[in-house]
Amino acid sequence: MHAYGTNGVINSHSSLLLRSVAEELKLPLLQIGRDAELQNLASANIAVDLKRIQNNADMALLLVDSYLLGLELNEAQAELTLEPVSLSGALDDAAHTLNQFAKQYDTTFELASSGKYGPVMAHAIGLKAALVSLGYALVSVPQEETSRRQVILGVHQSSSGLVAGVYGDFETLAHTHLKQARMLCGRARQPFRMLSSGSAAGVFVADTIFQAMHTKLNVSRHQKHTGLAATLQPSQQLALV
């Protein structure tokens, strides 16, 4: 009876998350489709940005992969072994992956991991996937054509661990928005209206992965920026580098 109930909850969460991801994927697929059509409409006058098509396809694939990884990690949560992972390495990898994507959204992507941080206890692939999914969601937040957003992948020390996340000019973002968004994930078209005009699947995929690693997303501030971040526990192993 207990197992049935547990499975029911897991299936319910995964199907809501799947709905959220499916809704989110409509955007990059539509961008790719209409970009290609634009070329056919106006081949003589408009050069279609093939790099943009590639970026959109790549990010869509990463989101699908991260969603599947989140499910796998949650299913194996009881046996999941966390290992010491270089946080600065994970942030660096995520920033590298997101950089091209950010450019097409007129967003400057910065890595702010000043200070020397040792390894944290995490699932190495999961940590990078969570940071990329989160960045994917926050980079595509609607903004004025005339403005240029700065999104920061940052880490800082807090009393409860190392806080790693993605930050930007989302000053009015509050914990209640995140709490409400979690409840609406997969149930509403715009569960996180503060951040996204769509399903904000990247946020929920990241949250799912972090939860498998025994932490979760919170609204956090880093320097003068506000964003979403998770607290990770430092590894007790000596940092050799």
């Binding site: 961008q31 209409r34 937040v141 005009s197």
Partner: protein, 128 residues
């Protein structure tokens, strides 16, 4: 050719739609949320509005109520082009007409050509 206000929250899609519309000679003003649209309307004076309903902060229906509350914008045609399927858009036909929605395109199934044709149809209707 016409002045078109494009209310589309995604920058990438907005640029694609704007290019397609400009390619056939229209002048496009792109905005990403309802408040920005209200701010530019008087200055830009659109002949037609292309609107996504899923917008940040205020949604497209809220924009429409505000837009239609000004006498000078009550007859401007609006083409809804949205990720929201029409079947989920629970307005009665009379309310739909009351909001002045001329055409409803479901974005995942609407080609650029359909958008251009819809715009052209509406502009012909205005001038007729």
């Amino acid at each position: 050719m016409a002045q078109i206000l494009l209310l589309e929250p995604d920058i990438v899609l907005s640029r694609i739609y704007a290019k397609a519309l400009e390619q056939v000679g229209h002048k496009v003003s792109s905005v990403f949320d309802a408040q920005a649209a209200i701010n530019v309307i008087d200055k830009f004076a659109p002949d037609l509005v292309v609107l996504e309903l899923q917008l940040p902060i205020h949604n497209g229906v809220e924009f429409l109520y505000e837009f239609r509350s000004y006498a000078e914008w009550q007859k401007t045609p609006v083409i809804v082009q949205s990720f929201v399927p029409p079947s989920e858009f629970k307005l009665t036909p009379s309310l739909w007409r009351g909001l002045g929605i001329a055409i409803y395109l479901y974005k995942p199934r609407a080609s650029l050509q359909q958008l251009l044709n819809s715009v052209q149809d509406q502009l012909v209707t205005i001038t007729a």
